[in-house]
Symmetry: D3
Subunit: 259 residues, 6 copies
């Protein structure tokens, strides 16, 4: 293992408005020898609430993931609570671990309480997120989704409103749905977990910090050979095919498949 661990945060949107905040947040909680890197996309929607937007950014995200591996990055986080591209990234990455906010927070929440609730922005988000959490096997531990009627781009514009709505939704989750742990179900809900935690007296997991810390662990484990398996679903595509079909010319691959 090198002395420094490089963790790259990929913000899967076509702007970097949140990058500074996220970098500051992660720098606060990183281990001493971790280097935080953040990237966002050169093109794309400003949020990915819709599957269409997810689909548009997905190829660019995967090329950033492969680029990160080529650059020697130790682990990567794709910063969207839909866990956009997480399975696909593990196919593309040969051995560099990849993490997503939903997988990290729900797997950690499972070690902290019997059930958890996820505070989301809008009802629209729930079906895909529930499907993902059920795929992870943690559907029985999901006490509820609680929407606060805010879009991704609304969370940071009026922080007081956001804090009040998150607090109210989380309190209802704890008292009415019997949640023991609260998860903030959007990376744009950053900056509120400490206040909520103090107010509510239960762990409130932040969707930026949690996957980043999990990725630091993954980077360490990868040096023991413990990263995603290549014998089944994550088998990588064949570079020979990619070349034969001219995919690097046809798509914006950033040269990631060049040998």
């Amino acid at each position: 293992m090198t002395n420094t661990t490089r963790i790259r945060w990929i913000d899967p949107v076509g702007h970097d408005d949140f990058s500074g905040d996220i970098e500051a947040l992660l720098t606060d909680v990183k281990r001493p020898n971790t280097e935080v890197e953040t990237v966002s996309l050169e093109r794309g929607p400003h949020h990915v609430e819709y599957h269409y937007y997810e689909s548009l950014v997905l190829p660019d995200v995967l090329h950033l993931v492969k680029e990160a591996e080529n650059d020697g990055v130790d682990a990567t986080v794709i910063g969207c609570f839909y866990d956009l591209g997480l399975e696909e990234a593990r196919e593309v990455s040969e051995s560099m671990p990849v993490m997503g906010p939903a997988q990290a927070t729900t797997h950690l929440a499972s070690t902290m309480g019997d059930t958890f609730s996820v505070i989301v922005g809008r009802r629209k988000w729930i079906p895909q997120m529930r499907s993902t959490i059920e795929r992870y096997g943690l559907g029985d531990r999901l006490a509820s989704f609680r929407p606060v009627e805010l879009g991704v781009l609304d969370f940071q514009t009026e922080p007081d409103r956001t804090r009040d709505r998150l607090t109210e939704a989380a309190r209802a989750a704890i008292e009415e749905d019997h949640a023991e742990v609260v998860i903030l179900g959007c990376t744009a809900e950053y900056g509120f977990h400490e206040t909520l935690q103090a107010e509510l007296g239960v762990p409130v997991l932040d969707a930026v910090v949690a996957p980043f810390k999990f990725a630091e662990l993954q980077a360490e484990l990868a040096s023991l050979g413990w990263t995603h398996s290549k014998v089944g679903g994550y088998e990588s595509p064949r570079v020979a095919e990619i070349e034969e079909w001219g995919l690097s010319d046809a798509f914006r691959t950033r040269g990631v498949w060049e040998r």
Copy 2:
């Protein structure tokens, strides 16, 4: 309802080698007043066994779906057993129904027997397909996956070998796994179901014909207002946002969002 029903088959690969066969196959089984249309992609991999390939073609597929709706097509099939882009297409399409081979075959098989087996090409395919079938709720009806160690592009090159392997795998599924129905788990496995059926004495569902026939039904039902719901997960993205962020310029959208 117009007198003619137009069903468009989207082959989500960057070649049209199978298009003629598929068009002939569908013309054979279509209703009298159905018009069969097939399209494939202008760029892209020659098969989509890997999630990376799925990801590359996904935006182009969604734009073809939206284009089909704009063109007045009555229903569309995305021709890949991963059900690539099916959920996303229902978000993009305002009201034109969309179908995929896995959803069509498994939902029909459920009306034909207690359990079904899916004959796939390679082990690599199984995790994503099982995850999809479990999401559909039909995991308990899945007797087994049986791989025949052939890639997508191998099925039509040596038909005798394909037929023998499919027969052997299907027989094992029926006798050892107690499957009552057999599903051919790749659109490229077309052309074999009748022979297998005669040999094995159970329904053998073809991944080209079944979703097409289901789409004909969906086209009819849509005229009653029965198509995918827009109040939750399939809420469409907002065209105003798409314009504001310049997505039509940044991606190959074929002008589908122009008003």
Copy 3:
């Protein structure tokens, strides 16, 4: 395939009060070359809300199913949302497809939204219906049952009351239970889905039209050999045994087993 497709609707009650309405309804939505036939029982209860009533009519229903097959009918619907006799009918029928309202509506709803709610008459109905939907694998997609406190025979007597109660229950299902699709869980709830749909903005599936349209598809598929499998649970009883035990004399079999 013959030029005409005959679909027979079996109303499993001892009166034909609804037959005219149902025949008119189906004639409106049928394909051009479909012939609609309706039959009801010569004896029996006026509704089948109770399992006892279902049990009384079950043998007569199965004999009507077998008679339909003997008559050359292409597909049959048993018109009760309990899916009364559906499994048994597939055993009795050699190859003629059979459909029921619950299987048809729930399988179609699954292609239209993340979750659905079923609007039922009384709480009494729920356990059997939930058990059936869970057996179909679609329990996770069931947002809720919503009873409107009306019996089967009440739905058509005061249409305004029925429409108001269905609307109120469906609205609660959409808003409180997050249902994306609404299913009218009784064949006697016919005649309301268009009004509800206009009012609520989501697909509202009618328990008469939906299984009938599904049966039209099944009739077509059967000509490809795609009907219920005979290698397992649907293996037919042996006519030799039926004769040996004198069952045709002991029960009202309508001569269906005669060779």
Copy 4:
């Protein structure tokens, strides 16, 4: 509670060939103050392997159940491992408990080991039985079904063959499927459990004795008011309706609804 407890065994077939054996078997294991009664049907098939046969006998079985309650019987067993009519009987019976072999054996097996296997006659039986066990919630405890390729009427004709096949199947269930408990999945498999148990060293539950002993317990519990609930799915049909529709004349009801 009366001094004597009357348990009636209903053999749901149109002959009484097994009644003597069953009565002897039950007399051996009954409590001192229990009276064993056995009845079979006046008409009907000789076995109920097929759903059609189940359907034919179902109304007569339910009338026998109601007659038993009218006669003051304390609990009734319907003697078929499909648990034919069990749910329906609890609707028809006001307060007399009813039991079936599958429910009794699987619920008892759950208190005796982590998993159980069911030894059945033919593959045909499995789908309905698995569906029933899954409805009971015990699907995860079901290690396997093991068919021995014998019909219901074969079990008692050549006892040596039966014993050998049951032993072989049960041994495979224990060693290969890791079953900890064995259930004989047909009432006609009586007379073998002691031999198997001695041979195999695990509990082997008999489908005649187990539901009978469970029914003795139910009879006692009913005197505490603990019998099937009437507020939901088991709500009884209304006698006024039965009379109004002339069901007693139209069907062979044995006068059970007369007041």
Copy 5:
């Protein structure tokens, strides 16, 4: 079988305040030839609401179970609704059956209605109880837990308050959660089920009486060889090891392992 059946009730707490009441209650409902015995612990907490308290008493409880078997007792109940030590006791006991209140009541409730609710003291209890009921496979039949905000030691101190709260919670379970059967989820909730039953019109299962009656059945079944299996999870520890490691000296084993 001996003429007398001895059932021993183990109250897993360090006092015998409830023993007299429980013995009286059981004497009322026992079969004529049953002998009721009650024991409690020589040391330990006064209730076992906390897992820590369960853990402290667990070894002493297991030694009492083994002592009961050594004494020739026919079946034992461990009297705590957490089913504290039930799995462990079946490992320690060679062939004497053991029962717990949660297993007995939920398995009996499953034969009495579609769903049941459990009335508990405090929210704290729910996670472990739900986990237990899900392990039994009956999670889908669990309509709800309803806490009444009383601790174990509060139930018998002000009976009127207890009765009122239990009634209110049970009524809400029946009407709002659609429970068909009510279970009193603590052995200290004894003495109320008859009143509730009269008031509510559904079976209300008592956590003292139900497991005791089930144990009487188990004692009978054990004489047929039907007790917990020893080929898997309940394989007993080896006495030679216990001696070699000096466990009888190191722990308060009451000499139960002496040969």
Copy 6:
């Protein structure tokens, strides 16, 4: 956060034969500022394959956990793949995180592949382990258990035999059961994962290293307030009660509850 992170490994057996090996193993993989501590019990069995042995050691283990928290330890691992006492420890510990080998390895494996197999010593272990993994929600990801017919104390006595059997079982799991990740299901299987990994080409998770590394992460997260929740199932027992009932005198509590 203090500069040094103290992780204490509790070996829940009455000897310290493995402690040196484990300490060396953990020292190799720890982060620079982690201090490894190992403790074992003063009394108790030499392995905990039986639930009885688990029960005997459980109170002493919980007192060691509380003592660790009192000592200022940052996180604790209870070193048994049954995850013995894990839930109970989180109740006893106010805020110090606790981890177990099964939870750590299965949660990490879920991020590395579609399915995993667990290589165990004996069939006896499987029921409890499967129950635990199902409680964690990961039952659908469990490809198989594969027993190697070795007891806990056999693994380190003949390393060549152990390595051969583990390799053979793991290979069968990968090829026949389609496992993508292998978990060594006993802490005494340490020292083999690197060899297996090199041989088999999939991640092979070691039950000593994995929970330790997870505990290091938990220690960090706890400083953000992210540790087990106290509002539900993990609510701590009340010290006033413990004192009132004299539990510190009656049990070997090591003074952990003194204030």
